[in-house]
């Protein structure tokens, strides 16, 4: 085990191959690899949970729980099913969604001033070439009507519930559910085509 661990900058995600190698070492209970993994990914994972939970204390708690889970489950990572960062970010996101559904529904009122998550999230230039999977998903999202795409992205990035989406779009909750169903099935068909 090398003692001179390369430490990537906090906000600069490491390449997928590096992260996969670190995850492999974490699965073998390598604490130095875990520290390196934390340093190179925590800002992305915090970005995921903080957009959903908004409160700093809840976001910090969710981040800690996510990394404990990543330590426990590192051996389950399967590179055939996605990138290491996508896998880790999904664990963090699930933790944040569990928390936000437990506490209260995410509401429009809690959106920070001037924060446009949907626009930010789908900026194809910012996300360009991050991965082929992302490019394919963005292309399929682009096929959805603008409102329906925004609903999916607000749910994904901000943790909006059906009720919060209903308020946002001035539509009944049942309509939102129908939107989500059609959008998700359309996305799946598009991704599989």
């Amino acid at each position: 085990m090398s003692t001179a661990e390369e430490t990537p900058k906090a906000t600069e995600p490491a390449a997928s191959d590096d992260l996969a190698a670190l995850l492999g070492r974490v699965a073998a209970r390598d604490a130095a690899a875990f520290a390196a993994l934390y340093r190179s990914t925590h800002a992305v994972l915090y970005g995921v949970v903080a957009r959903i939970l908004t409160r700093g204390d809840a976001s910090g708690e969710a981040l800690q729980e996510a990394y404990v889970r990543i330590w426990e489950k590192a051996g389950e990572f399967d590179s055939a099913r996605g990138s290491p960062l996508a896998w880790m970010a999904t664990i963090a996101r699930n933790r944040a969604i569990d928390e936000v559904r437990r506490v209260r529904p995410a509401s429009l009122e809690e959106m920070p001033e001037g924060f446009e998550p949907a626009a930010e999230a789908v900026d194809p230039l910012a996300a360009r070439a991050r991965s082929e999977r992302l490019a394919a998903l963005l292309a399929c999202l682009g096929n959805l009507d603008a409102d329906k795409r925004e609903a999916v992205l607000l749910a994904y990035y901000r943790g909006f519930s059906r009720d919060a989406l209903a308020r946002r779009f001035g539509a009944p909750t049942a309509t939102i559910k129908t939107w989500l169903r059609r959008s998700l099935m359309q996305l799946r068909d598009c991704l599989e085509s």
């Binding site: 906090a10 906000t11 875990f34 520290a35 934390y38 340093r39 925590h42 800002a43 992305v44 915090y46 970005g47 995921v48 903080a50 957009r51 700093g56 976001s59 910090g60 981040l63 800690q64 729980e65 404990v68 330590w71 426990e72 099913r81 996605g82 990138s83 960062l85 996508a86 896998w87 970010a89 999904t90 699930n94 969604i97 569990d98 928390e99 559904r101 437990r102 930010e120 999230a121 910012a126 991050r130 991965s131 999977r133 992302l134 394919a136 998903l137 992205l153 749910a155 994904y156 990035y157 943790g159 519930s161 059906r162 989406l165 989500l180 169903r181 998700l184 099935m185 799946r188 991704l191």
Partner: protein, 237 residues
């Protein structure tokens, strides 16, 4: 793929995060027992996960790494009184007392169905093996449906430093999960809260265990997904 379209949509909404709290808890419990549903949720998480990866980073306020490492060390501390021999002794004692056969839910269920075909009297004693998978039983909940007496025995639940295990009853008719109280990882817990529920609800419900802050959930709602889950099966009188 034999999953119904409704279940596949539920899996998609689980991954997207838009299920209502009660629906989410129900699905979280079901996926531990239904491998196709679990696979569908994973597939949806995978489809959407490139979005998570592309989230613009935010530098958190402070360094959480030392706290995370401390939690990992606390979780890894060897349990004091949970040697394998003690566990096997308790497991075999429970098996002899409760069913006189192997303690696997599937075997119980098959025996139950076979017996029920020829029996007129409704069973009174039920057990639920609360487990992550069939070979890792963590708790056994025994319930007398007449008295609604609930007894929870630990089998191999790892103690959680600074945390408590809490038992929940999950049934769509009840709405969100209802707490049945904190259960002890080392000793038998008896709890009368089941008296408040209908027999049919008690019989059909899913029982789930979550890890909560010490003393139980502060707001009466599960803090996270279940770590152990089970359904009732009848015990031969």
């Amino acid at each position: 793929m034999t999953l119904s379209p409704d279940d596949d949509f539920a899996a998609a909404e689980f991954a997207l995060g838009t299920l209502e709290p009660g629906e989410r808890a129900t699905l979280a419990a079901r996926r531990l027992r239904e491998s196709e549903l679990d696979a569908a949720i994973r597939a949806w998480e995978m489809r959407l996960s490139p979005l998570a990866e592309a989230t613009p980073p935010i530098v958190p306020p402070g360094d959480f790494l030392p706290a995370i490492e401390a939690r990992i060390r606390a979780a890894a501390a060897p349990p004091a009184s949970h040697g394998v021999a003690a566990l096997q002794k308790r497991l075999s004692r429970w098996r002899a007392a409760a069913v006189g056969t192997t303690g696997i839910a599937a075997a119980l269920a098959i025996g139950f169905i076979a017996r029920e075909a020829t029996r007129a009297v409704a069973p009174r004693e039920f057990v639920a093996i609360l487990q992550r998978s069939a070979d890792s039983p963590a708790f056994v909940a025994s319930i007398n449906l007449d008295s609604r007496e609930l007894t929870v025995r630990p089998l191999a639940a790892p103690p959680q430093a600074g945390k408590s295990y809490e038992l929940w009853i999950i049934e769509p008719k009840l709405g969100p999960p209802r707490s049945l109280g904190v259960i002890d990882a080392a000793t038998v817990t008896r709890n009368p809260r089941l008296a408040a529920f209908d027999r049919a609800v008690v019989e059909d419900a899913t029982y789930a265990v979550t890890v909560e802050p010490e003393g139980g959930s502060p707001d009466g709602k599960p803090s996270g997904p279940p770590v152990f889950v089970g359904k009732l099966v009848a015990v031969e009188p």
